[in-house]
Structures are given as structure tokens and as C-alpha cells.
């Protein structure tokens, strides 16, 4: 037991202790106690993360890896599965986000869940999620990662369906789990192929093998990475498996902030970055990821333009932002993906919690058509929300600007990049600026449309303090990764890039000049600015306009408003036929065919057995059968 063993145990098991504490007394309705214990557990994990982080910093740059081994889970044949954990620059950043943002969200939940019937259960689940998420990012091999991967899915299922009396919410939880399972099946197969290629599940060993790819069959490697990516599309809500995330908004809002914005949904990005040398070796997979990422970014952003539920807008926004991260990964900009993952965790968690504060203040109302002018009643929520808004639309000097711009730049300039990828990204950024401004305008600005019986009020300190901290992070978080084009002029280093160097594959930039970078940056900022202005005019100044525009393009509007009918399509094309097919299997295959066939066979055997008996050829087996059947018959007569 080294100190690192102890720290790892504290990191992982502080939330487990909280889970057990609240889980055992799950009927207890003292939300303050439950929430305090859970928050302390999360904070303890955060403290442990900081201590590990300190130790990591003390190491020379090239050796920043701490491997902590506990025991062998199984030892079968060639395969040894270790329960062991690895802290390096990638996983420690994830841990900091998970435990840091996680603690704030736990704190926020105390106020948010103060009127709930079952706070202990809620906090137990939330702590258990933290444990699984930490397993996912700290596991030193694919198996421990997979354990966490499914574990967070389970917690997500439980928390989405937390208010289970509502059939729709329970259904949303189920949908999330099953959709994720589709991805998980792919992930499992990918793991098997990697094992067949390398004979190990350990990340370090697999990545080390990629230094010399000669001799590794590329087709299998491509299949493996594509399958891993299928897993990522499930967990990180990318096309075509994103459908569960908007429905997941049925869960309590802090859950949406923690699980469905800041942490769990980024697991797919994390996994790919974790194995970036493997992905880098497979050109086809990289292109697929970039295309899916860019398309999802745009597709989800367009849906976000039309939604009326404050959380649904944020949900589609999350899907879209995750698309950006995959776009970054796909063009080989792993550092940029991690950077955006971090800034997004700040500003999206902020906005989800902000929406939670609004919903709390509006006594449960989520429809932005019934809001408006809330900045007066909810000043702190408003001002912090503004910080998140400025960050996500890419306002220069706010965090989202740095990270999104880096992605856009690399999607154009990287050797894996393409002008079209950049273009899709910029159009999506335009949509983002529009729907976020629309959300701000409808919720906080303009005239109040709040029904008379609702009295909006600002949330208590335990809810606004997390908002303030996250708002600060949303503003300054970007300075960890200042782009070179700006950094060089000001002599500011790109801290994040240096932090990751050696851990992620270097990026090749071809034929791109500083002038181009500046130009592209100007274009994307102007697009965002223009569409934000347009949204402001539409929803604050000339409020009749949106309806007019919508009626002009009614057909298109309806398709987008109904989310392109993807859910309906899945139901019609896959789920319903499968249920009908299964029912037919049961009624016709099992009951009609197999059973009837065996009756016929039995009759035939019986008849021929009788034939044999009449011939009296003393067939031993028939006698055996008759003896047994006779015996049974006797007992039956006696007992029945």
C-alpha cells in the first residue's frame, strides 16, 4: 500500500461511502443531511484528485504517469485483467472536472431537491455515479473502463427515471439504457478485436504497440476503432444514437448538468483520446468520426433553433457541442477536443444549473414561452447565465471562443481536415449563436409572459454559489489553451498543449498560414455575432417576426420542430417490426410449429412402439419406457 493506493481508494470510495450512507437510509427525508454528506463525499474525492495532481506535477514531464495496481480480477489463459488505475495528464484532467464540477453540482442539488420526497435516494445515486465515472476515466485498461462505462449508464438510467411514477420519465430512462447498450455491444466487439490483435487490455501496452504499426493488419484495426466509435456514439449521443439524450432531460436538472452535459456524455471523447495512437493509425475511422461529428453538430443545432423547452434547447445544444469534440478528434486535434470538453463542462454545467435555478424559481415551469423578463427576479442566475451564453456562442476572450475556434481551425488546417468540415462547423456555430440568444431573450429579456399565479424568485445561496464559480470558470477557463496565433503575439503559452504533449499524437498542419487562421477566426466570429444579433431582433425587438418566418417555411419548420421525425422513424422501422416479428416467432414458431411438430413425433413414436409390442420382440428400451410410464401413471393416480 503506497500513498497512491490510499489516495486512489479515497478518490474512488469516498463517493461509495456517501452512496452507502444515503442508500441504506434511502427512506430518510432529511435532504439537507443527505445532500451535505454526498457533497462532502464528492469534495473529498476532489481533494484526493488535487493531491494526486500535485504528485503528478512533481514528476518530470515525460514520466507523468502513476500506475496503481490492486488485484487481478481474473486470470484466464493469456488474458489477465487487472484492477488497476492510471493517473496521467489525460485522466487527471478528467478527474479534476468530474470531482470539481461534480462537487458544485452536488452542492447545487441540496437546494434544488429540497422539496423532493426522496432526497436520500437521489444523493445516493449521484454519489454512485461519481464513483463509476471515476472508474471510467482512471481505469488503466479497457475492462475497468468498461465497468465504469456501463456503471454510469446504469446511474443515468436510475436518475433519468428518478420520478418513476411518471410513465414517460421511466420510459426515457429505459430508452437511454437500451440505446447505450447498442453502443456498448459495439464497444465490446471492438475490445475483443483489440485483444485478438495485442493480447492485452492495458491502454499503455496497446498504445505502445502503435509506435510501429508494421505487421498489424490494418483492416482489423480499422474494424476495431470503428466499433469503439460505435460505443462512443452511444454514450456521447452522436448520430445515429443521440436520440436518448434529449429524452434524458426527464431527470432532475442537476443530473442533466452533471451526467448529460459535463461528464458522462464526454466519455466517448475521453476513450478515443485515451487511445489516440490507435485511432491515428486508421484513416477511415478518423474520417468517419470527423464527418459524424460535424454532421451531428449541425443537425442538433438546427433542432435547437425550434424547441420551446428550456432544457430541450440545452440538450440539443449538448449533442451539437459534443459533435464539435468529435470533429476535433476526427481531424486529429485531440488536445483541442479535450480543451473543448473542459470549457464545455464549465459553461454547459453552468447553463443547465442556471436553467435549474430558473425552473426552481418558476415552480417547475420549463416552457420558455411562459417566461421572459426574468432578469429582474433572478439577477444572479441571469448574470451567470450571460457568462455561459457568451462562452458558448464564441465571444472573443470567453472560454468557448478559444476552444471552439481551435477546433474550427484544425478542422480546416489539419492534414485530416477539410474545408467542408470547417464550413459545417461555422454554420453550426451560427445556429448555436442564434438558438442560445433566442433562449436568453425568451427567458430573461423582453417582456414578462409569466402566468399570474407563478411568482418567480431567486434561488438560495447554495444554488447561486455554484453558478458564480462556474461562471468564473466559463470566463477564464479558456486561458489554459490560448491559440498560437494570439499567444505568440502576447508571449502567452498554450498551457494545455504543453500539458498534453507526449500523451497525444502531434498534429500535422499543412499549407496553412497565420493570415488564414486570422481570417477564418474573423469569419466565424462575425457569423456568430450576426446571427446572435438577428436572434436578438427576432425575440426582443420584433417579436412578431419569428412566427411570420416560421409560417413562410412551414413545411421545413415542422420537420425541424419535430426533430426530423427520427424517433418516429426508429419506432416504425425498427422497434415495431421487431415486436411484431417476435410475437409471430412466439405464436407461430413456438406454439404452432415446434410444439405441434413434437406432438406428431410423439404420436408417431407411440404408434410404432405399439407396433413393436404387438410383434413382441422384447425391445428392452420400450419396456423401460413402459415401466417408467407405468410407474408415473401409478403415482399420478395416487396423488392427483
Amino acid at each position: 500500500m503506497t500513498t497512491h493506493h490510499i489516495l486512489t481508494l479515497v478518490l474512488l470510495f469516498a463517493p461509495v461511502a456517501g452512496f452507502l450512507f444515503n442508500g441504506i437510509r434511502f427512506r430518510n427525508q432529511n435532504g439537507i443531511l443527505a445532500g451535505t454528506v454526498a457533497t462532502l463525499a464528492a469534495a473529498t474525492s476532489f481533494a484526493a484528485t488535487l493531491l494526486i495532481y500535485r504528485d503528478l506535477l512533481a514528476l518530470p514531464h515525460a514520466q507523468r504517469e502513476i500506475l496503481v495496481h490492486f488485484y487481478n480480477w481474473t486470470l484466464i489463459g493469456e488474458s489477465k485483467i487487472n484492477i488497476s488505475f492510471m493517473f496521467d495528464t489525460i485522466s487527471i484532467l478528467m478527474c479534476l472536472i468530474i470531482t470539481g464540477v461534480g462537487s458544485l453540482i452536488h452542492l447545487f442539488s441540496i437546494g434544488y431537491m429540497s422539496h423532493d420526497e426522496r432526497p436520500s435516494k437521489y444523493f445516493a445515486y449521484l454519489n454512485f455515479f461519481l464513483f463509476n465515472m471515476l472508474l471510467l476515466v482512471t481505469g488503466s485498461n479497457l475492462i475497468v473502463m468498461f465497468v465504469g462505462w456501463e456503471g454510469v449508464g446504469l446511474c443515468s438510467y436510475l436518475l433519468i427515471g428518478f420520478w418513476f411514477k411518471d410513465a414517460e420519465k421511466a420510459a426515457a430512462g429505459m430508452k437511454a439504457f437500451i440505446t447505450n447498450r447498442v453502443g456498448d455491444a459495439g464497444l465490446l466487439l471492438g475490445i475483443f478485436i483489440l485483444f485478438s490483435l495485442f493480447g492485452t487490455f492495458e491502454f499503455q501496452e496497446i498504445n505502445a504497440r502503435m509506435i510501429d504499426v508494421a505487421g498489424i493488419p490494418l483492416s482489423l484495426l480499422t474494424a476495431a476503432t470503428l466499433l469503439l466509435f460505435v460505443g462512443a456514439t452511444g454514450k456521447s449521443a452522436q448520430m445515429p444514437l443521440y436520440v436518448w439524450l434529449p429524452d434524458a432531460m426527464a431527470g432532475p436538472t442537476p443530473v442533466s448538468a452533471l451526467i448529460h452535459a459535463a461528464t458522462m456524455v464526454t466519455a466517448g471523447i475521453y476513450m478515443i483520446v485515451r487511445m489516440n495512437p490507435v485511432f491515428m493509425a486508421t484513416e477511415i475511422t478518423m474520417t468517419t468520426i470527423a464527418v459524424i461529428g460535424a454532421s451531428t453538430a449541425l443537425f442538433a443545432a438546427t433542432i435547437g433553433l425550434t424547441q420551446w423547452d428550456i432544457k430541450k434547447v440545452l440538450a440539443y445544444s449538448t449533442v451539437s457541442q459534443l459533435g464539435y469534440m468529435f470533429l476535433a478528434v476526427g481531424v486529429g486535434a485531440f488536445g483541442a477536443a479535450m480543451f473543448h470538453l473542459m470549457t464545455h463542462a464549465f459553461f454547459k454545467a453552468l447553463m443547465f444549473l442556471g436553467s435549474g435555478s430558473v425552473i426552481h424559481g418558476m415552480e417547475g415551469e420549463q416552457d420558455i414561452r411562459k417566461m421572459g423578463g426574468l432578469k429582474k427576479q433572478l439577477p444572479i442566475t441571469h448574470i451567470t447565465f450571460v457568462a455561459g451564453w457568451l462562452a458558448i456562442i464564441g465571444t472573443p476572450l470567453f472560454s468557448g471562443f478559444f476552444s471552439k475556434d481551435e477546433i474550427l481551425w484544425f478542422s480546416y488546417a489539419s492534414s485530416h481536415g477539410h474545408f467542408l468540415l470547417w464550413l459545417v462547423g461555422v454554420v453550426a456555430a451560427g445556429c448555436t449563436a442564434f438558438y442560445m440568444t433566442r433562449l436568453m431573450a425568451l427567458t430573461f429579456w423582453g417582456k414578462s409572459r409569466v402566468p399570474k399565479e407563478v411568482h418567480p424568485h431567486e434561488s438560495p445561496l447554495s444554488m447561486t454559489i455554484p453558478l458564480i464559480i462556474l461562471a468564473i470558470l466559463s470566463v477564464v477557463g479558456g486561458y489554459l489553451g490560448i491559440p498560437h496565433v494570439i499567444g505568440h503575439a502576447l508571449h502567452l503559452p498554450n498551457i494545455l498543449e504543453e500539458w498534453f504533449s507526449g500523451k497525444i499524437s502531434p498534429l500535422h498542419i499543412e499549407n496553412a498560414t497565420t493570415a488564414e487562421e486570422v481570417l477564418l477566426m474573423l469569419i466565424s466570429v462575425s457569423v456568430a455575432f450576426a446571427s446572435a444579433t438577428l436572434a436578438y431582433i427576432f425575440y426582443v425587438k420584433d417579436t412578431a417576426k419569428p412566427a411570420q418566418v416560421a409560417s413562410k417555411i412551414k413545411g421545413l419548420y415542422n420537420i425541424v420542430y419535430n426533430k426530423y421525425f427520427v424517433d418516429e422513424g426508429y419506432a416504425k422501422a425498427i422497434i415495431n417490426p421487431l415486436v411484431v416479428f417476435s410475437r409471430n416467432l412466439w405464436l407461430y414458431m413456438d406454439v404452432e410449429f415446434i410444439d405441434k411438430a413434437t406432438y406428431k413425433l410423439t404420436n408417431f413414436v407411440q404408434n410404432s412402439a405399439e407396433g413393436l409390442r404387438s410383434l413382441q420382440n422384447g425391445n428392452l428400451q420400450s419396456y423401460a419406457v413402459y415401466i417408467v410410464i407405468g410407474f408415473i401413471a401409478m403415482i399420478s393416480v395416487i396423488l392427483f
Binding site: N72, L75, E150, A170, F177, F195, L585
Partner: protein, 513 residues
């Protein structure tokens, strides 16, 4: 004498049950079953897990003319199955405390008889003895379904009996043929499996009419019905639905394993060429079973029938793993046999608990049960997670290694089998949602308003005690699989590595006993 004691103690207990006064039958049975379980725990002391050899062997001449002996022994393949058998007896006795309303004595008598027959099946090394125990175990189960079962119990019991009986008759012919073959090849007739393993059984690839293929088919069909594999599975849903809870639990947890155990003991080591040649087809049937069972489970209106079809799916995994013929598949399959016992056993107990309260198993009558029975819901969810193989539970370890073994052997079949991962979650969670979540259904409402006689009380202390060991096992087996697997590892390694030339040595130490 240890194994003989293990096998025949329940017969003594069965006799004691008949002598007990009516009021003491349950308590007496429970105590005896616990004594038997504790006795079986001595195996941890006596069993040497470092060797693949047969241990604690006892051999006495019986019918020497045919080379039939009283011959018992244990190795890593049977080790856990034996312990599972003794483990479940106290659980089903306590679990059926109130549900067996008539002929209580006969019921416990049959139960102990069944224990002896099942243990005999797992511990016999003489094939004739194996056959006798294998067949004999049908009778008590037949009685359990036929006497204490539901409304269509006679039909279900007959179906169960005829199906399994038909299969095992083929096996008897094959066993007799093997005995003749030992007389030819080894100089003296022997019914011992150890001698069977030494035989060279002629095999012609691609033709059916040769000794090895025919015998392979005979054994295969016998065990396939028992497992049960698609397409001979239709007796199982009927048997399960009509059987009383303890019958369902024993049937699912242990009796189905007699089929897969038979694959490991007879089919794979005895007919290596045929197994390798037709293995892909068996794997295919396993995969069809996984998908078919899951799909049909999805549309069942009755909870118990759903669980029964889920058994078809889970046992499909076991077959897939076994016939992948690599260490991952075999290990996963053995683990899945135990997992299926624990999780499906627990599911049947849970379904029994709710059935005792409402006397219905129709999914659509429920809804909103989570609010009425919170602890029951938590237990049910834990078992569901085990059944759909969420990591951290036992189910994951087995399913993971089976899929890995299957995939490494045959990529296409392994990939199709992975569909089970999705479908399994679909049918279980769909059922959980309908039963536990959503607005209050007919029964929950009825119980609240007092329309029904029995209020929906949450699990009682007795029911918690029944389920607790299973819940503990779900996590223990999921978090520390090596605690369990290490006992079987030597035997499984030996089976996979020497499958083409399998021999089962007898441990030297054991013979001195």
C-alpha cells in the same frame, strides 16, 4: 466416504421427513438442508484446486459383467455445480415456507430425493450410474410440477417428462455402444467415463453414419433437450410457468445445468473430432437461442414466462461459450452456468414473492409497484442488473468471456451473439418499467383501496433472508470472480488444452481414503 455421504445424505433426510410430525416438517427440512450444505462446504478443505485430476474418488464393484461400478469423484468442472446444488436446498425450503399448501411432507420428501439424484448426476464417473441419476431426477421434478403446479400442471409435467425422457433414451443407446467399444478396444467392458476417454472412436468427416458422429448426436440431443437449446426448448416455458416457485428455482438453477454439464463431461472430451467438426453448428444453435429467447421474452405477457424465455437466451450463451472450445468461452460458460443459477433462481423467487400476494403474474396488471414495495423493487433491480450482465455483478464476467471466446472463434457468430447484450436489456427493462414504474396499476390500486384481500406488503424478514445470500453472491462473484474461478481453472485448462486427447487422471492422494 465423503462424496457418498454427500450424495446419499438427502435420502436419509427424505426418510426422516416422512417420520416427522406434520408441524415440524418445514423446520426439520430446513435444518437438515443447512446441515447438508455445511457438510458440502468441507469440499473447500478437501479439494485440491491445483490439479485437474479426479479427486475424492470412491470405486466399488457393482455389476462387473458389464464393467459397471459404483464410481464417484469430483473435479473442477463439477465442483461448483455440487455446491450450487446443496446451496439452493435451504433457500428453496425457506422460500416456499407458505406457498406449499398441500402434501407438505411429500413435497419435502421429493425435494430431498431430487437433491440426491442431482448430486449423483454431477458426481458419478460411471456412465450407467450417471444415466440412472440423470433419469431419476426427472421423477421428483415431474411430481413437483404435477402436484403442486398451476392450472395446466398435468400438461406441463407430461410435456417436461416426455421431452427429456425421449432425449435420454438416445443417450442410453450411445452409452451401451460405448461399453461394447471398451470391451473391444480395452479388453474388458467398462462403463467408466475414464475408460471411455481412452477410446479411439472412428470418425469420418462429413458423413453421419459413423460411430463417433452417431454417438455425438445421441448425447448432443439428450443434453440439448435438457439445456434446453433451440428448437427443443418449448417444454421449458410451460414447465416453469406451471411449476411451483421452488420447482422453478431448482429447475432453472440446477437441472438445466445437467445438460451443459453433460456437454462438458461427455460430448466435448469424448467426441473431439465430431465436436470440432460440428462445433460451429452447435454455436449457431446457441446464438439462435440467445436471440430467439430474448425476442420471444420481449413479447411475453406473463412475468414468469418472460423469465423462462430469458433462460433459453442465457443458456444459449453457455452453449456458445462451451463450443467455442477455447479457454475464454469455456470459463465464461462455466461461470454463466453459476450466474444463471443465481440470477434466474433469484428472479423466480422474486416472482414467487409477488405471486403469493396478488396471485397473478400478468405484467399488465401491475404498474407503480415501486412506490408500494420499495425494498422489493431494489432487490428486483439488483437481480435484473445481474441478469442483463451489468459489470460489477456476476452476470458480466460470464457474458464477457463467452462473447470474447465466441468472437475469437467465429467473428460472425460472436457478433450476432452480441445482439443479446442489447435485447437482454430491452426485455428486462421493459418488464421492470411496466411492473414497477409508471402510474399505479390495477393491483397496486386495488391493494391500497382494500379491494384485494392481501395488502401489498413489502418483503418480509423471511423473504429477505431467502434473497440475501443470492444478492451477496451477485456482487461477490462480480467483483472477485477469481475467488470462484480459481477452483475450476485447472480442470478447464486441462479440458481445453487436451480436448483432442482428453484423459482424466485420478488424484493419488484421494485413493488412499
Amino acid at each position: 466416504m465423503f462424496l457418498t455421504g454427500l450424495i446419499f445424505l438427502p435420502i436419509v433426510f427424505a426418510a426422516v421427513v416422512l417420520l416427522l410430525p406434520q408441524s415440524k416438517v418445514r423446520v426439520g427440512s430446513l435444518l437438515m438442508a443447512i446441515v447438508h450444505f455445511v457438510y458440502s462446504l468441507c469440499l473447500f478443505q478437501m479439494f485440491d484446486k491445483t490439479t485437474a485430476a479426479l479427486q475424492l474418488v470412491e470405486k466399488h464393484e457393482w455389476i462387473s459383467f458389464f464393467g459397471i461400478n459404483y464410481f464417484v469423484g469430483i473435479d473442477g468442472i463439477s465442483f461448483w455445480l455440487v455446491l450450487m446444488t446443496t446451496f439452493f436446498a435451504p433457500i428453496v425450503i425457506l422460500g416456499s415456507w407458505h406457498s406449499i399448501e398441500k402434501k407438505e411432507k411429500t413435497f419435502h420428501f421429493a425435494l430431498f430425493l431430487l437433491q440426491t439424484f442431482m448430486l449423483g448426476t454431477f458426481l458419478s464417473i460411471d456412465s450407467i450410474m450417471f444415466y440412472i441419476f440423470f433419469e431419476a431426477s426427472l421423477l421428483p421434478m415431474y411430481l413437483m410440477i404435477g402436484v403442486w403446479g398451476g392450472t395446466r400442471r398435468i400438461y406441463a409435467a407430461m410435456k417436461f417428462f416426455i421431452y427429456t425422457m425421449a432425449g435420454s433414451l438416445l443417450m442410453l443407446v450411445a452409452i451401451l455402444a460405448l461399453i461394447f467399444m471398451t470391451a473391444e478396444q480395452l479388453g474388458a467392458p467398462s462403463a467408466s467415463m475414464i475408460d471411455f476417454y481412452k477410446l479411439q472412436i472412428p470418425f469420418v468427416a462429413g458423413e453421419v453414419l459413423n460411430p463417433q458422429t452417431l454417438m455425438f448426436l445421441a448425447f448432443f440431443i439428450a443434453f440439448a433437450i435438457k439445456v434446453p437449446m433451440f428448437p427443443v426448448h418449448t417444454w421449458l416455458p410451460d414447465a416453469h410457468v406451471e411449476a411451483p416457485t421452488p420447482g422453478s428455482v431448482i429447475l432453472a438453477a440446477i437441472m438445466l445445468k445437467m445438460g451443459t454439464y453433460g456437454f462438458m463431461r461427455f460430448v466435448i472430451p469424448l467426441f473431439p473430432e465430431a465436436t470440432n467438426y460440428y462445433g460451429w453448428f452447435v454455436m449457431l444453435l446457441g446464438v439462435v437461442g440467445i436471440v430467439y429467447g430474448a425476442l420471444v421474452a420481449m413479447v411475453q405477457p406473463d412475468i414468469k414466462k418472460l423469465v423462462a424465455y430469458s433462460s433459453v437466451s442465457h443458456m444459449g450463451y453457455v452453449v456458445l461459450g462451451l463450443f467455442a472450445l477455447n479457454i475464454y468461452g469455456t470459463t465464461g460458460a462455466l461461470y454463466q452456468m453459476l450466474n444463471h443459477g443465481v440470477s434466474t433462481g433469484a428472479l423466480f423467487l422474486l416472482v414467487g414473492i409477488i405471486y403469493e400476494r396478488t396471485h397473478t403474474r400478468e405484467i399488465k396488471s401491475y404498474g407503480g409497484l415501486a412506490a408500494a414495495m420499495p425494498i422489493y423493487t431494489i432487490l428486483f433491480l439488483i437481480v435484473t442488473m445481474s441478469s442483463i450482465a451489468v459489470p460489477g455483478t456476476n452476470g458480466f464476467v460470464g457474458e464477457f468471456y463467452i462473447l470474447m471466446g465466441g468472437f475469437l472463434k467465429n467473428k460472425a457468430l460472436g457478433s450476432i451473439a452480441a445482439l443479446g447484450v442489447i435485447l437482454g436489456a430491452a426485455y428486462m427493462l421493459w418488464m421492470v418499467k411496466k411492473v414497477f414504474f409508471g402510474p399505479e396499476g390495477e393491483y397496486v390500486k386495488g391493494a391500497k383501496e382494500g379491494t384485494y384481500n392481501e395488502a401489498l406488503k413489502d418483503v418480509s424478514l423471511r423473504e429477505t433472508i431467502v434473497l440475501a445470500p443470492l444478492i451477496i453472491l451477485i456482487f461477490w462473484m462480480g467483483i472477485f470472480p477469481n475467488h470462484f474461478l480459481s477452483w475450476s481453472q485447472s480442470s478447464l485448462d486441462h479440458l481445453v488444452k487436451t480436448q483432442l486427447d482428453y484423459e482424466l487422471p485420478i488424484a493419488q492422494k484421494a485413493e488412499q481414503e
